[in-house]
């Protein structure tokens, strides 16, 4: 299996450990990754220009197509956004021709065949839970893990085709594959609060805190993430609010899924960016 790795913007600058750990575990699982000259997935432009956002995404898809590869991204925002762009291109002829014209100025073209995968479904379906389970050397037994699904991968499900958006199981399966306990927590499908951080900080924080409180109340010791936005957001709020943890007295930390898997595979923490 070979994919073009799309790390997006947040991971290299703010969460390099995610890339490091992703490469480490995929390497172990025989998935090879190719680096292309990708640019922004287009998400930020979605707020100002539909055309610009779709074009930015399409350009990356075109690069992947030129290389003859499907795209794999560990970022759920990039994942959702690239898939959205594909949908919009599919349903809006006029948009598609505008985008094709713009791509042609760079000598690029996209015929619509590039698939975009996120890390988790790739592990669960393409690699397979069994193979993931088989790669585990040091089962993380005793670790009580809350899966943080992340909105842009889960919804809208007809665009992302990630898992059942109402009752997803994929993340818990992958967590259990590492030997850890996947706990059930009511707010596991909720927004992490990150997208409205800039627009409305206090509201964003309330949303994040509600999630964290819920995870704690449900007995989680670790929140497992698979999106840089969720991860950074929860880290930031955890770091900033001692009161939140004081409420229930339990400590909670965040962990990226490939780090959890990597630890279970017996990789050194340093090799996972920890």
């Amino acid at each position: 299996m070979k994919f073009a790795l799309f790390v997006g913007c947040k991971i290299p600058s703010r969460l390099p450990a995610y890339e490091i750990s992703t490469r480490a575990v995929l390497g172990r699982l025989g998935v090879s990754l190719v680096d292309l000259d990708f640019t922004c997935c287009g998400y930020p432009a979605r707020n100002i220009s539909r055309d610009a956002f779709v074009l930015a995404a399409a350009r990356n898809l075109a690069l992947a197509e030129r290389a003859g590869l499907d795209v794999l991204t560990p970022c759920k925002c990039c994942f959702g956004n690239l898939r959205h762009a594909i949908r919009f291109l599919g349903e809006d002829e006029a948009l598609r021709s505008r985008v094709e014209k713009a791509l042609a100025t760079e000598g690029l073209a996209w015929s619509g065949h590039t698939e975009v995968h996120h890390l988790l479904p790739l592990l669960a379906r393409k690699v397979g839970i069994d193979k993931v389970t088989a790669s585990v050397r040091l089962p993380q037994t005793g670790m009580r893990v809350a899966a943080q699904y992340g909105c842009h991968a889960l919804r809208p499900s007809n665009v992302t085709r990630f898992d059942n958006p109402m009752a997803p199981t994929i993340f818990e399966k992958l967590i259990r594959a590492t030997g850890a306990v996947a706990i059930n927590w009511p707010r596991r499908l909720d927004c992490c609060g990150d997208p409205l951080h800039e627009a409305n900080g206090p509201l964003s924080e309330r949303i994040t805190l509600a999630k964290l409180a819920d995870a704690r109340q449900s007995g989680a010791t670790t929140i497992c993430t698979a999106c840089p936005h969720c991860h950074l957001r929860m880290d930031a709020v955890l770091a900033g609010s001692t009161s939140a943890s004081a409420e229930t007295g339990t400590e909670i930390k965040t962990l990226l899924y490939p780090q959890l898997l990597g630890l279970a595979m017996g990789l050194a923490p340093e090799a996972l960016g920890m």
Partner: protein
């Protein structure tokens, strides 16, 4: 690079209302591989109450205390009614299986007995129903006995007035009192939404604060009614905490859609099918179904690149107009996916009565698909449209579930019967799960 899914499923259920969910659930429980297409819109509008049958015949508005008696009467008087095609044992089995699955998914129901229960609604009317969520059962008892009772509501919850309920009940329940409270932390919010409060109550602290608000108001009350918002995903825990905290039976009163019990039902059913390995496709429009001798290929649009699903049998559980299983233009009602013939009044002029509440009901509500004894929809010639195509739920003709109060019963029982038929057809007399 496009990967077209080519797994062949035993069953493809189109529709994710109550009937579609029941079909997927029963299929999975019988060991059939199943894919389910459609979003759970219909269930969102559910009240949480599982009706089986209580009004028959409509014109007489005759209300039945025992649903199976009503079904027996129906079987005699309206043999074309879909529920008249199923024996009582199967209906009972189907209901028990459905309720058990819900209980396992965190949404327990009161044990199913023989009789219907009367449930108080949010506008003060009384609704007869069969399956009552455990969170509402204390209300059934209270309504029957009418002890001193406190009805509580919250500022900003627009659809629910405890005062209205108490006032409407009037002299018939003199010991009923009402109290409006400010939900903790919502002082500056003019409008509140039940689902938000339900989730807020899942937080231990908010829950405790709310209970503390109610405690001083109990007086001589022997039961307390709340709008149905005591928790969403962890409603069992929230309800138990309220009963423990207040020391009295606590019951929920069903509210209008989108109601929390509807959301709970949706979540529980989605979880139930997900844990049973049913593949789900939400918000997918079925573009085409191509039947050949052995399989049906279902084309889905609305997702990037589209998708094809291949299945050996297809269950049409697409509902009526709300679910868009049926669509109507000015002239005709049609079946939306395959274009099956729809049994219907001859002209639009006859679709509806001039009086909305006309006791005989609107003729269009009895329009729908005609089926054979194996739950297969018929083509124009009166033969099964395709040997492996089945139809269940409210899309079927000759029923008026809203007036008969048989919506859930229709969905659950027809789904159960159709899935049994499918299993036999695919795996012979002894089904895959070994059940005869």
């Amino acid at each position: 690079m496009t990967h077209t899914r080519q797994d062949t499923f035993d069953v493809a259920v189109i529709g994710a209302g109550m009937a579609g969910m029941a079909a997927a659930l029963f299929a999975a429980e019988r060991g059939l591989s199943c894919i389910q297409i459609g979003n759970g819109g219909g269930i969102l509008f559910a009240s949480g109450l599982l009706d089986l049958m209580s009004i028959h015949p409509l014109a007489e508005r005759r209300k039945w205390g025992f649903p199976f008696d009503a079904l027996a009467a129906l079987a005699l008087e309206q043999p074309q009614h879909p529920l008249a095609r199923i024996d009582a044992t199967s209906v009972r089995t189907a209901f028990n299986a459905f309720v058990a699955a819900l209980g396992k998914a965190g949404l327990p129901y009161a044990p199913l007995g023989k009789a219907n229960s009367d449930v108080l609604t949010s506008i003060g009317t009384i609704k007869p129903t069969y399956g009552v969520p455990r969170s509402m059962i204390a209300g059934v008892k209270a309504l029957a006995q009418r002890p001193p009772c406190l009805f509580v509501d919250f500022h900003g919850l627009r659809e629910f007035s405890a005062r209205q309920i108490v006032s409407t009940l009037g002299d018939s329940w003199p010991a009923a009192r009402f109290q409006r409270l400010q939900f903790p932390g919502t002082e500056a919010v003019p409008e509140l939404y039940a689902a938000h409060l339900a989730r807020a109550l899942e937080n231990v602290e908010t829950r405790a604060r709310t209970i503390d608000l109610v405690k001083p108001l109990l007086g001589d009350a022997q039961a307390i009614g709340f709008p149905a918002l005591l928790g969403l995903e962890h409603s069992v825990e929230v309800h138990a905490a309220f009963e423990a905290g207040l020391g009295l039976p606590v019951f929920e009163i069903p509210t209008m859609p989108t109601s929390v019990p509807g959301l709970r039902l949706l979540m529980a059913l989605e979880a139930a099918v997900a844990t049973r390995g049913v593949s789900r496709r939400h918000h997918s429009t079925v573009d085409s179904i191509v039947f050949d001798d052995e399989t049906a290929t279902i084309g889905l649009i609305d997702s990037p690149g589209g998708e094809r699903v291949v299945a050996r049998t297809v269950v049409l559980a697409t509902g009526r107009f709300m679910g868009r299983g049926l669509v109507a233009d000015r002239g005709h009602v049609s079946e939306s996916i395959i274009g099956l013939p729809v049994h219907q009044p001859t002209s639009r002029n006859e679709w509806h009565q001039r009086d909305f509440l006309d006791p005989t009901g609107h003729a269009i509500n009895r329009a729908g698909l005609l089926i054979d004894d194996s739950w297969r929809p018929l083509d124009a010639a009166g033969n099964p449209a395709w040997p492996h195509l089945f139809a269940v739920g409210s899309i079927l003709a000759h029923q008026d579930w809203m007036r008969s109060k048989c919506g859930s019963g229709l969905a659950i029982a027809t789904a159960w019967a159709a899935v049994r038929q499918i299993t036999r057809q695919l795996y012979g007399d002894c089904d895959k799960a070994g059940e005869p």
